[in-house]
């Protein structure tokens, strides 16, 4: 094996064992940030040892033994220090003696500990960005460099975010706690938010980007699967997984060979990933069975599902989509959602009905610089044959568009409307 091969093999073995390493250490040390650090130490030890001694037959066992040795060393040091200061509590003494037996039976179920890791990494005290980096490290075993490449920021920024997050947790005494009951549902919201942020960051990647960027979608999906397996009674966890699976199912169809985006209604639906759609629909069903049909993620997933089950654009149930947007808007009160509803209503009941909704939100301050507002308005006007007004709307949209592709599209449509062409 070449040095590069050995390096790749070590990283692979470490990533496989990493969830169990970190869950075991976290339980031993009752300190999540510290467990994360010692888990990384085990990787460093392997990177030093294995190129010389060869990859062991049971790499997982080697890593686990090494990591546990470090953890025990740490606990012993703590114990000695405590004894020196005469503050060793009797129960801590007992715990220390029991320590070697920590292992085997507890390793069997990593679920509770995994839940604790995710909730710690995504604590509301931390910024969303720090939580994203920290959980990618702890749950998915990504290195700082990989996270940095994925988020298009320098590695130093990521490691700083993680260091700061760990310090915040340790200083706030939050290094080892799992919320229960009501607190769990409340805290789950911030966990889901972080996972969705990671997914969207990967989903926004364009062709030619570093492969680590789209990989974020896979890592987020993985976290979503982790969540539904360890917190199976939380409907919104299933809702988010459904949303990510259903959006992810269109990955191969949403960009053409030149890297240009293909709009939903123009995508070749045969390229959608059927297996992923099936998993998404199953997760959505589970969310409904748990009574979470009206959840933030479940509602969005339900909208995407309307597209996923339509084998051709004309088969789309726009009336249902419009109704789902209405429910979503009732929850969130967002003019952007209302604009989406306008599009759905326009498809279901014609451009006049859609335009009425657009006009009602036209003066919302939040949409003042949002190019899709005049874009959608222009589309309805063009369909109604009000071409001059349509042209003006598309021009406004082109001026507001944030990127070249959107601007080009809006200018093209302005030119079409100006030339008297009816809507396609």
């Amino acid at each position: 094996m070449t040095a590069a091969n050995v390096h790749a093999a070590i990283l692979a073995a470490w990533r496989i064992e990493q969830p169990r390493l970190i869950t075991s250490l976290s339980r031993m040390l009752r300190d999540v940030p510290l467990a994360e650090e010692l888990t990384q130490d085990a990787l460093v030890a392997a990177l030093e040892d294995w190129p010389v001694s060869g990859v062991p037959d049971r790499p997982g066992a080697w890593l686990m033994a090494t990591a546990k040795r470090r953890a025990l060393d740490h606990l012993r040091r703590g114990k000695m220090l405590a004894r020196k200061h005469g503050m060793l509590a009797p129960d801590f003494e007992r715990e220390q003696q029991a320590m070697p037996d920590f292992d085997a039976p507890l390793d069997d179920d990593i679920g509770d500990e995994m839940l604790r890791l995710i909730f710690t990494a995504c604590h509301p005290l931390l910024s969303r960005e720090a939580s994203a980096a920290f959980s990618l490290r702890m749950i998915c075993g990504l290195t700082t460099e990989e996270i940095a490449r994925a988020f298009l920021v320098p590695a130093a920024t990521i490691s700083q975010r993680i260091v700061r997050a760990k310090r915040t947790l340790s200083e706030s005494g939050l290094a080892y706690e799992t919320p229960h009951g009501e607190a769990l549902s409340e805290r789950l919201a911030s966990v889901l938010e972080v996972v969705y942020l990671i997914f969207n960051e990967g989903y926004a990647a364009s062709r030619g980007d570093d492969w680590m960027r789209p990989q974020l979608c896979h890592e987020a999906l993985r976290m979503g699967r982790v969540l539904v397996s360890i917190a199976p009674h939380e409907p919104e966890a299933h809702g988010l997984l459904a949303l990510m699976e259903l959006n992810g199912s269109r990955t191969a169809a949403r960009i053409d060979a030149e890297g240009e985006p293909i709009l939903l209604l123009e995508q070749d639906r045969r390229r959608w990933d059927v297996l992923q759609i099936r998993r998404g629909l199953q997760a959505l069903l589970r969310a409904r069975e748990l009574g979470g049909e009206g959840g933030f993620y479940a509602l969005q997933a339900a909208i995407v599902a309307c597209h996923a089950v339509a084998d051709r654009p004309e088969a789309t149930d726009w009336r249902r989509i419009a109704a789902l947007y209405e429910r979503l808007n009732a929850r969130l009160r967002s003019p952007v959602i209302e604009l989406n509803r306008a599009v759905a209503v326009g498809m279901a009941d014609g451009p006049q009905a859609g335009l009425a909704i657009v006009e009602a939100i036209a003066h919302e301050p939040a949409l003042k610089t949002y190019h899709l507002l005049p874009g959608v308005r222009g589309d309805f006007l063009q369909k109604l044959g009000r071409l001059e007004e349509a042209r003006a709307a598309f021009e406004t949209a082109a001026e507001l568009a944030g990127n070249r592709r959107d601007r080009d599209l809006m200018q093209r449509r302005a030119a079409d409307a100006g030339a008297g062409k009816p809507a396609r």
Binding site: A8, A9, R15, I16, P19, R20, P59, A252, D256, R279
Partner: protein, 121 residues
């Protein structure tokens, strides 16, 4: 990347003994909770299956068991993993369990990457 693992054995359909079964269930549980295993399944003995063949452009159906088969598929699993290194390491861990718990077992775990879908037309 998505990988398929296909486990075959020249000795035909041999059920894992209890210690091996326990060990397999343990890493299976770990992999589900780690979000990496997407699907898996063990297959019934070949006697319950059939083969639909084409020879000389003609279909024929052969009911199991298939005497001429050299390697028999016992089960499969589908994983979502980073790269081939990770996939091979995972297979090694899985196969090592067989060495540890059922030394008489012989067979192969084939690791195959799913073909990525090219970008849209």
């Amino acid at each position: 990347m998505r990988f398929m693992y296909i486990v075959t054995s020249p000795k035909g359909h041999v059920m894992p003994n209890q210690p091996l079964m326990d060990a397999i269930l343990k890493i299976r549980d770990r992999e589900i909770k780690a979000g990496r295993m997407i699907d898996d399944g063990g297959l019934m003995p070949v006697a319950t299956g059939a083969q639909v063949k084409i020879a000389d452009n003609k279909l024929s159906v052969i009911d199991g068991p298939f005497v001429e088969a050299k390697e028999l598929i016992g089960g499969y699993a589908i994983f979502e993993l980073r790269d081939k290194e990770e996939a091979v390491a995972m297979a090694k861990e899985f196969m090592q369990l067989h060495c540890d718990h059922m030394p008489e077992w012989e067979g192969t775990c084939e690791v195959r990457a799913f073909m990525p879908r090219p970008p849209g037309a």
